[in-house]
Symmetry: C2
Subunit: 107 residues, 2 copies
Amino acid sequence: MVPAISGSAPLFAALGDRTRLQLVSRLCSGGPSSLANLSAGLPITRQAITKHLRAMERSGLVHSRRKGREMIWRLERRRLREARRYLEIVSAQWDSALARLRDFVED
Amino acid sequence: MVPAISGSAPLFAALGDRTRLQLVSRLCSGGPSSLANLSAGLPITRQAITKHLRAMERSGLVHSRRKGREMIWRLERRRLREARRYLEIVSAQWDSALARLRDFVED
DNA sequence: GCGAAATGCAACCAGAAAGTTGCCTAATCG
DNA sequence: CGATTAGGCAACTTTCTGGTTGCATTTCGC
């Protein structure tokens, strides 16, 4: 009954890395940004950042657009909402009286 | 601005696997359950399930308790709420007028 | 007490992932 | 035009991960 298991796993996987969460944070608070901009300050190479961004792109979490010689990346709000919704549903279900009853019974 | 990056990554990583999401689903809708019970029906070995559960336990997503000869696992609601909250904050921040402004400016 | 059930532990394996280095291409700005 | 800046591609290393098999241990039911 919990929804869309198959589709949600890659999305959470995309969030499940410290560096990628930092990128999400930057993209979130700073808006769309170029690769050079994103990799500035982070302790790893630009190529590694590219790999992370492409991985996130494959899971739909982020989107890229060429602009001249630079690559602009931005967060994909829709996908983020999906992840949030998944957790909301799981939480809600867990919070239900039925779950609590079974918890008690099987204890 | 976005909170608790360091702590959130392992949590999302724990959710970022199809099998583990299935376990979350089972634990969520069925309440606490034994290892044998959880591994029944899944196409992988019991040992693999154990590894997944222990991984989830390390990230605080799940909790185990011995009961006679069986091991009872249950979801940790608190941790699930944390993940949800993280996404809510990121989403909210992204949705803010400031983010949209920067989106426009840097476009 | 004995057999079956539920689990733990350790070694092992293949493939994915995170990161690097080296070099190449395409815009941009003096 | 020439130098610089932004980025792409490919090969390679190391470590992590998901999964396996084999065997030992504890506990339950009869």
